[in-house]
């Protein structure tokens, strides 16, 4: 299938893996400005950090298996949940989809040869790697690993003796990386679309990443300055967040959440883009309500920047602010609802093949809905008084981040795997792994919702005996879940090592990335294509 027959496969498929550039060996990767190589560099690091953080998650669950279980000391637990949160949020889920798949596929999907600023793209990766290195370095400095929670709430983060400044400096660097990636993605989308690729012919993944990139540009600097102030405060004591000097700790929380709430949409929007990509391809049908989905991405990105105060309902902020933030929180759920309904409607009268990418995408919808609906429940003012900072919240965000973004990531990985690596994995085995993962996931996280409703506070290294049963179930779930995860990734690695050679277009997709060889050649397109139709017009 070609786009109006313009794209002819006339060239020898010398893939970007075989490209001979200035450098050899590892240098050919870490100094490459090819967006595809950079995407894979991110993939490598992110998977590494992800496994570290999952291991921490496993340790936490193990500690919580029974009241008083003597696995580790309290300080150790406090450090572990902090690191777990920091790594997962700042090192894994925020960069994951935009930096890996956005990098790899956004240029191809819009018919470009590379990003707008290839060198800055490489710089972003280096900043990411150094920021991560600094965060890890902070573990080994005097005072030991940080123990503030990923939120770094003042004044605790100003008083604790551990090396908070170094850790937030690391996150600051990560923020710079994120901003530059955002600048690159927005500019690329504006400037490098192939002729004929009008805004409403963009694949929805591009829309998702584009909206995300704006949030990255506009929200990230706020947390940058917040963390810079934490550093200045620790070294010079200017007092802006220190109540002893007149500072207002709630303003710290405002600044923190001004970024960190939009950040949750940085996590989810690209994943939603992936789902919008996968569903039409496997139902062989145009997406239902293209414009509604595209605009709801923009709506989520913009209205989503106005709801940060729902993390502060019980913090002592004014009741007036709570009311406004609660109202806005409920309104921002509507564009998400629109997306969900459109996805489900796309399945209607399709011709559906339940291959792994679609399976993960549908699981995304299910788990994301649970996560989102639990979000609604805790967004109600009265109920939040009860549920704030309990395991309910922990359940909410694991459902929505891992169930949502995590499964979106898995969908993306299984969807584009043949394109990225030119190999195919064993689809039957993926389904086996999915079953384990899905069961484990729910056994792990559903009890958390009940625990929270019963009043189990979060960030507790120990708990009263009545909570035991549910914690025990949850811990068992974590083992099942990790087994499923290992199964799925093992299967992918097997595919890499001895999978069959993948076709150029195994799923018969209509968007541009499927019209070029697998894996793509260094400059993607021999001739810049001329686009004559939408991304989901099959046959």
């Amino acid at each position: 299938m070609t786009q109006n027959g313009v794209l002819e496969k006339t060239y020898p498929a010398a893939s970007f893996y075989d490209h001979q550039g200035k450098y050899r060996g590892i240098l050919a990767w870490i100094l490459s400005t090819d967006h595809k190589r950079i995407g894979l560099l991110y993939l490598g690091l992110i998977l590494l950090f992800f496994s570290v953080a999952v291991f921490f998650g496993f340790l936490m669950r193990l500690k919580l298996i029974a009241p008083g279980f003597p696995l580790m000391k309290p300080q150790m637990y406090n450090a572990i949940f902090t690191l777990h949160g920091i790594i997962q949020i700042f090192l894994v889920v925020i960069p994951a989809i935009p930096a890996i798949f956005g990098n790899f596929f956004l240029p191809i999907q819009i018919g470009a040869r590379d990003m707008a600023f290839p060198k800055i793209n490489l710089l972003s990766w280096w900043l990411y790697a150094s920021g991560a290195a600094i965060v890890f370095l902070s573990l080994f400095t005097a005072g030991g690993p940080i123990d503030t929670g990923w939120t770094f709430y003042a004044p605790y983060s100003l008083r604790t003796t551990v090396n908070v400044p170094l850790a937030v400096f690391g996150v600051f660097i990560l923020g710079m990386s994120s901003i530059l990636t955002g600048v690159n993605l927005v500019t690329t989308t504006h400037r490098l679309r192939a002729p004929g690729m009008s805004w409403f012919r963009l694949p929805l993944f591009v829309w998702g990443v584009y909206a995300t990139a704006w949030v990255q540009i506009l929200a990230t600097p706020v947390i940058g300055i917040t963390f810079a102030l934490i550093m200045i405060e620790r070294y010079f004591g200017i007092g802006v967040f220190d109540p002893a000097k007149g500072g207002d700790p709630l303003l710290y929380q405002h600044l923190f959440w001004i970024y960190s709430h939009p950040a949750v949409y940085i996590m989810i929007l690209p994943a939603m883009g992936v789902v919008s990509e996968v569903i039409p391809v496997f139902s062989r049908k145009n997406i239902f309500g293209y414009k509604a989905i595209a605009f709801s991405s923009i709506a989520i990105a913009s209205v989503g920047s106005l709801v940060w105060g729902h993390h502060m309902f019980v913090s002592g902020q004014s009741d007036f602010a709570s009311v406004i933030f609660s109202l806005l929180t409920f309104l921002v759920a509507v564009p998400s609802a629109i997306k969900v309904f459109n996805w489900v409607a796309t399945l209607y009268k399709g011709s559906i093949e339940l291959k792994p990418p679609l399976l993960f995408a549908l699981t995304f919808i299910f788990l994301f809905s649970i996560g989102g609906l639990t979000g609604l429940i805790q967004g109600a003012l009265a109920v939040n008084m009860h549920l704030h900072d309990t395991y309910w919240v922990v359940g909410h965000f694991h459902y929505i981040i891992f169930g949502g973004m995590g499964f979106g990531f898995l969908a993306a990985l299984h969807y584009w795997f043949p394109k990225m690596f030119g190999k195919m994995y064993d689809m039957k085995r993926t389904i086996g792994g999915w079953i384990i993962l899905f069961i484990g996931f729910n056994i792990l996280y559903f009890p958390m919702l009940i625990l929270g409703w019963e009043g189990m506070p979060r960030r507790y290294y120990d708990y009263p005996p009545p909570f035991h049963t549910l914690h025990l179930i949850s811990t068992i779930g974590s083992w099942i879940l990790i087994a499923g995860l290992i199964w799925i990734f093992f299967n992918l690695i097997q595919g890499l090592r001895r999978g069959e050679k993948a076709e150029d277009n195994p799923w018969k997709g209509a968007s541009l990335e499927w019209q070029i060889p697998s894996p793509p050649p260094t400059h993607n397109f021999e001739k810049i294509p001329i686009v004559g139709k939408g991304p989901y017009e099959f046959g």
């Binding site: 405002h254 106005l306 502060m312 004014s318 933030f325």
Partner: protein, 90 residues
């Protein structure tokens, strides 16, 4: 045409200097809240001049250039406004 641009720059610079003079002398007077407003309005005019002439925003075409500053202003207003919904009503 080019030379006119040259002259524009100098004129803009003159305007900036004069506006600075006005704010500084204004500040001596005690007008309370009004003086905050005036001082900020003058600062806004000054940055408007820099943005449109020195930074060429006036001459750029394309929706993106037209939207950028409004987007940032909207973001800042909303951030400050919503923060004040707390700070001012606590």
């Amino acid at each position: 045409m080019k030379n006119r641009k040259y002259r524009t720059y100098i004129l803009v610079w003159l305007a900036l200097v004069i506006l600075t003079g006005i704010t500084v002398s204004m500040a001596g007077m005690d007008l309370g809240l009004l003086s905050i407003a005036i001082v900020l309005i003058i600062a806004a005019i000054k940055s408007g001049l820099v943005l449109s002439y020195f930074m060429h925003l006036k001459y750029e075409t394309g929706l993106l250039f037209k939207l950028m500053i409004p987007i940032v202003l909207a973001a800042l207003t909303v951030f400050i406004g919503l923060t004040f919904s707390d700070v001012a009503f606590r």
